[in-house]
Amino acid sequence: MRKRNETQRQKLRNSCLPSGWVRWFCTIGLLALGMMAVSTLASAEQKPESLVIDGLGKGTAALNGPWQFHLGDDPVWASPALDDATGHSGWEQLTADKPWGAQGHLAYAGYAWYRRHVHLSPAFGVSPEFALLNRRIEDVYEIYWNGTLIGRYGEMPPNPSFRYGAGAQTVSLGQARDGVLAIRVWKQPLVSFDSGEQGGFTAPPEVGSPEAIAAELATSNYKWLHARQYTFAEAIFTALVAILSFIGWLRNREQRVLLWMAVFCGSWVGSTVLVGLRLPFSFNFALGTLQPILGLRDIALWFLLIELLQLKDNRRLVRFTWALATLTIVSTSLDGLLSAVTMSYAEQIADGVLTVIFTVAELYAPVLVFLGLRRRPDHARWMVAVFAFLSQMIFVVRIALSQGSRFTHWKLADKIDLPLFTIDGNPFTASTIFRLLLLLSIVYAVFRHAREEFRRQHAVEQDLLGAQELQRVLIPDALPSLPGFSLTSAYRPAQEVGGDFFQIIPVEDDSLDSTLVVLGDVSGKGLRAAMAVSLIVGAARTLADFSSQPAEILAGLNRRLHGRLKGGFVTCLVLRLDSDGTCVVANAGHPTPFLNHEEIASPGMLPLGVTANAIYEETTVHLEPGDHFVLYTDGLLEARTPAGELFGFERLQALFTGHPNAEQATEAAVNFGQQDDITVLTLTRLAAGEEASTQLTAPAA
């Protein structure tokens, strides 16, 4: 290559040699050409102008105008001696008032550098020191003054970290005068809802004396606080509602609507705390936690709608809602975990797919609203339905449009976020307004709902109290003396009102001093069981006026009960006890009595009230002195431990071997694990000359 040039130069020399003035002419011509070339080059590589700020007093000056900008990363770019002329080695000019994504570098994420040549001089009598205020630079940055690192925000890769929604930062420039301000920036990879118009400066930095910059920072923070008065007030109100609802639910766990209300409001407050208060949460933590919290808010809204719009009885719908809730929690949690890492391309796709899943799930609330409106709700529920629909639809449209907006370039989502009006500097967007209306309508509807539930529950409790009272009246509070027998009885009601009953009815005009004992159990609980007991006791006493035959009395009871128990039944035992020890027993499906430690032979028969014309059999046993005869209800037999183990026949047999009195037998079952009413009656045949006795254990009134 060199040889060829030498030859060319030689040729040129030879051609120019003939005359001296021609040689001069050629030389001048070449110089002119050279100057033209240099001039052309200078116009392509424009030297950046220095920003001159002279006599800066108590105010601040924005470092606006063109900044030298370069994508990528090179530590040399911090150097003041670097040639950063526009067009040279990839340097270009951007302004600092908007991100690089909006200035030709759409969707760029990674490193980039900004540089600015600055000349500063303070006004007379003002501090010779300078400071810099950076409003927001996305996402992490380092600031160099003449090649020296003077400040930074966040952590650069490989372990990037920065706060969510951080405010302005200040950096001291010292007694800076002439030099180059270089800012190294790193923007993290975009998430699915990023428009791509992000990265780097969002507003020009400002320079001023440290006092002026501190004042500017305070003003900036005050403006931020001032513009969020409404947000804070809403968060406090919502937190209060969440706490009260949760306390209300703790007091009454049946009121699920209060629990969902607490979750709905709590999740909203949680999201405000995470991303709205400038608390020192890292961006990835805030975004990662926000996803499941918003998912939880959606789920709470669904169940609130199900409760308030009276869709709870649709079991299939409730099951589907639980399934969708699980899917939402899983997908939002996974999406949240993805946010916690710096996403690769594949992870960004996974982020998009997960986001689509829970964005589609957002449409479920409007579906519930549609189903609920078909139930003709009252005005409070109507309002909830309407505002839930509007609020959710705005949210869905906003989220759906913002997803992938860097590919679609749709701007409607941004327009939805524009304030419709401001009050004292507080912006109100359509989302803000509908969210508030939804919250207020839910609070109102839940209040009404809780009040209705309270009234209903109060009525039920009154019914139960009435039933308990009725049952106490129907269980004897004193026992008549049975000639020739020692009698003990115990009645231990369970928490709910059950259907145990027993009556002891002396037989009139009877030479054998006979007594009828009626003992039984109505299936079911509550007022209905108590009313059946009332009917049975009345009927048994009436029947006893006309017959002392246990089988006839049972048949009479059966006829009166048939068709009145609505699918239930009554097990019942009637026995006639003669003073000579003869005992005639008729049994309608009731646990067989024990004589000492053996059950008497009693045929199994259907309970009362099941078939219209049942005929009952009688069994006669003769009780000798010392014999111990026990009647009981299934609450004794089927006492259960918390693990589900039954008391059972074997334990019963062992228990009765010891001839316990009624209270002792009852206590044994209660200690084992009472589930139902327990009634026990023991009859011990006395020897001649022994005095009859009774012992009754009744529940405290």
Binding site: S523, G524, M605, T611, G644
Partner: protein, 119 residues
């Protein structure tokens, strides 16, 4: 302890060669089980003539639960076109079922093979 009652249905063949439908219950049986049990029983095809009620998976039946089966057995008894038998009851509940006279409407067997060989 008030576990939800689950009812599953399956087809089987008795030792005699006739088709049998088995309704298997699991969980506790109480008044809350009524809907599931009656829905399963009423959902049986009208042509089903032999039904086995399988209580192998049942831990506890209270008196309201027994009332449900009495209702089913009386219905079947009235129609006269269906034979019902029971297996898988614990000895405790075999005794309880006998006390309430259920054995007059449905034979009680200890297990499935005993029930299938008897049908």
């Amino acid at each position: 302890m008030q576990a939800t009652t689950r009812v599953t249905q399956r087809a089987a063949t008795a030792d005699s060669g006739s088709a049998v439908t088995i309704l298997s219950f699991s969980g506790d049986i109480s008044s809350a089980s009524k809907e599931a049990i009656l829905a399963a029983y009423h959902g049986l095809d009208g042509s089903v003539s032999k039904v086995l009620l399988d209580f192998t998976g049942v831990e506890y039946i209270n008196s309201s639960g027994i009332a449900i089966f009495i209702q089913v057995l009386l219905e079947s008894s009235k129609s006269g076109s269906r034979t019902i038998a029971i297996f898988g009851l614990s000895p405790h509940f075999q005794k309880v079922f006998t006390m309430v006279g259920i054995n007059k409407y449905a034979a009680l067997y200890s297990d499935e093979s005993a029930a299938k060989s008897a049908l």
